[in-house]
Subunit: 216 residues, 2 copies
């Protein structure tokens, strides 16, 4: 069955690979599944046709035969659950890999998303600069714990898994902040993720969308 | 095999059931699995023994034989995956229920957690009051979408699932904010969750911990 995902027609990050379709593209490349992409504009995302697929009017969505899913973490889990390559077979190792998927989006990502709030949504407010340092310290607290846990390991729990895919893409949001380099083992961990051939293919594909849109 | 979870020795919410062990207790009650609780103090949570179980030094954790998990969403998924009652058998319905688990923690909960930031972590800052209304508006945007999606349905996707369990507990964090009552169908949805016998048993058990600690 054909897999179709949605992505921004015009990526707000100008092809840097930070939009969440990148996570789904990467997962599909890791398991070797071809897919189609339907591009949606910001206006289309809030229209009934798209909201029928995604109740919160966002991207990505995932369609496969009669199945329609939204929410990146759930899409990644679905791909990892149906295809070999992103979750271990051994039940306890599988449960631990899924743990890291949730930890990425529910423990590590929320303070990182606050960077968007302080810099973009509230960038014009008088408190922006003072809040920035508070937000950065909350991010550092999470990074310090994660760095201590990871130590010299290559991936979070044995072989590369969907948990690493989620964590690496969450940490990539810090690229412009200067925070990641304070934790060399986390910076190296993210670099290992980016070096994977599946990541490279996914990155090139999302960049091609931006390049085509800006030169077309 | 005995299941052991961890919970706050002294609950910061004074037994209101907002700590995340409540989510795990509720799930275990729904599937009829007995469990032990090990209480940890705030100091113990940051010690090496607990951090070996939970890299971010939080509660709850979950131990069962040789398996140790952290991160509430992952623990709920593990319980739902191993025991009947929280995820549908039909594969597409199961994938959709898991979607709502991720949507609860990654789309709906982050703006709600910002209420804690603005009221507690930054409650003494000069910008607290002005930021509060911005945060409330971001929460309302999510609630409006969720309310439109839910409509008159009893649960998010057919029968009660782990997705509802996660969403109800996320929305319960709004109880004191006055925001939930602006969306009567969401308020009724949360009340349906609270009325479930399994929720009631879990709530009573976590309240008993607080009562014992405060009278002991």
């Amino acid at each position: 069955m054909t897999i179709t995902i949605t992505a921004f027609e015009s990526s707000p990050d100008r092809g840097k690979g930070l939009a969440r379709d990148m996570r789904v593209r990467w997962a599909l490349e890791e398991v070797g599944q071809p897919y189609d992409v339907r591009l949606v504009s910001f206006a289309e995302m809030k229209q009934p046709a798209h909201c029928a697929l995604h109740p919160f009017g966002q991207i990505p969505t995932y369609e496969e035969g009669g199945l329609a899913l939204f929410e990146t973490g759930a899409i990644i889990f679905h791909i990892a659950d149906r295809h070999a390559g992103l979750l271990p077979d051994e039940p306890n190792a599988r449960a631990r890999a899924i743990t890291w998927m949730f930890a990425a989006v529910n423990t590590v990502e929320p303070p990182i998303l606050d960077l968007v709030t302080v810099k973009l949504l509230e960038g014009d407010k008088p408190w922006a600069e003072q809040r920035l340092s508070l937000v950065q310290d909350r991010i550092r607290a999470r990074l310090a714990d994660l760095s201590a846990y990871l130590g010299d390991a290559e991936w979070l729990d044995g072989a590369f898994s969907a948990g690493d895919l989620m964590m690496v893409t969450v940490l990539l949001r810090l690229s412009a902040s200067g925070l990641l380099v304070e934790y060399p083992n986390l910076a190296a961990y993210v670099a290992r993720g980016e070096a994977r051939p599946a990541y490279q293919r996914a990155f090139a594909d999302q960049l091609a969308v931006f390049t085509a849109a800006s030169t077309g």
